[in-house]
């Protein structure tokens, strides 16, 4: 199994053509020769030797447009794109509230978080299977100060007998992984090496 994981790291992630993405069976029928074969994860290095069990019909051949590094993905991040701390969203600051009791209502959250400023938007998503809350909510404030005050006041407190956690939803740069010494992002187009 370990050998297999290593093999999977040795694949070519650069594609000439977005259209490849789903063309295993080339049903588009334009007869062009498509590139295919041993692509594994779009982000190769995360399948490390530590991954012991792999399952599924797609293993080793997943295609993805998300992997194409040359495509431009729009973002709101500042130039340089490597900061710390929270990232502003287009109309304000978004917080994630986790640990929300499943039978909480949108109004419970709205009331609690309106203490710190005008709640511009609130998503309290429901679990599709049960119709109860999925356990999280997203709240938008117009100003950084309101959002930060809400985090400080509400993180770790009780809402309807359940401890909730409140944090920024977006960051200005990659999460620092303390345990991971391998580079988080590929910096060159050369295929990853097998260590």
């Amino acid at each position: 199994m370990a050998a297999r994981a290593e093999e999977e790291e040795f694949v070519d992630y650069d594609r000439d053509d977005d259209e490849d993405a789903m063309d295993e069976d080339d049903r588009a029928g334009d007869g062009r020769r498509r590139r295919r074969g041993g692509r594994a994860l779009p982000v190769p290095h995360i399948v490390s030797q530590g991954v012991m069990r792999a399952r599924g019909r797609l293993i080793g051949r997943s295609p993805s447009v998300l992997a194409a590094n040359r495509d431009r993905f729009d973002s709101l991040a500042d130039a340089g794109n490597s900061g710390h701390g929270p990232q502003r969203s287009i109309e304000g600051w978004i917080l994630l509230i986790s640990g929300v009791k499943e039978d909480a209502g949108e109004d419970d959250l709205y009331d609690a978080f309106s203490e710190f400023g005008h709640v511009k938007d609130l998503h309290f998503n429901l679990e599709r299977r049960t119709g109860y809350g999925k356990g999280y909510a997203l709240v938008e404030y117009g100003s950084f100060e309101e959002a930060q005050t809400a985090i400080r006041a509400m993180n770790g407190t009780q809402l309807l007998t359940r401890t909730i956690y409140v944090d920024w939803a977006f960051g200005r740069g990659p999460i620092q992984m303390l345990t991971n010494t391998r580079p988080l992002r590929r910096r060159s187009p050369t295929p990853p090496r097998c260590n």
Partner: protein, 165 residues
């Protein structure tokens, strides 16, 4: 700007007992008279959330968005997956992708890597009549919950309404 308050409580892989490795990718799409239409998103281990949506209907262009999410958001995605128990399933007996479309769900969590593929699922009837209704039901609901989470994140951050593919 200091990541003060709750921002500091995240030592990478806390919660859920699983190690630091985490990756999630979901794709749904098909090829038809409007070309290759699809929706795809992924969470990378460093927090990068990528979202792409291509609908060629009326010459719509492809939407490509990316944003770094906080460790808390990643942890929440991980929790949703963990609670679904999808990592115990297998796609062996699920309907094969067909003309109508294809779905793919790829997750690395802890020391496991699943990479499932199946057809589009129209409703629970498709689930019930399949050869693995229990496993497919888990997939069916998990995908909806994950989409819901990602749509909210993208919608709030960019103020666009993701289109259901």
């Amino acid at each position: 700007m200091a990541a003060s308050g709750a921002g500091g409580d995240d030592a990478g892989g806390s919660g859920g007992g699983a190690g630091g490795e985490f990756y999630l990718r979901y794709y749904v799409g098909h090829k038809g008279k409007f070309g290759h239409e699809f929706l795809e998103f992924e969470f990378r281990p460093d927090g990068k959330l990528r979202y792409a949506n291509n609908s060629n209907y009326k010459n719509d262009t492809m939407i490509r968005k990316e944003v770094f999410v906080s460790p808390s958001v990643l942890r929440e995605a991980r929790r949703i997956i963990q609670e679904s128990e999808i990592m115990k399933e297998d796609d062996n007996n699920w309907p094969e992708p067909d003309r109508v479309g294809r779905q793919e769900l790829e997750i690395v969590m802890g020391n496991e890597h699943i990479s499932f593929t199946t057809s589009k699922i129209g409703s629970l009837v498709d689930v019930q009549t399949s050869k693995d209704p229990e496993g497919l039901r888990i997939f069916y609901y998990l995908v909806q919950d994950l989409k819901c989470f990602v749509f909210s994140l993208i919608n709030l951050h960019f103020k666009i309404k993701p289109i259901q593919s």
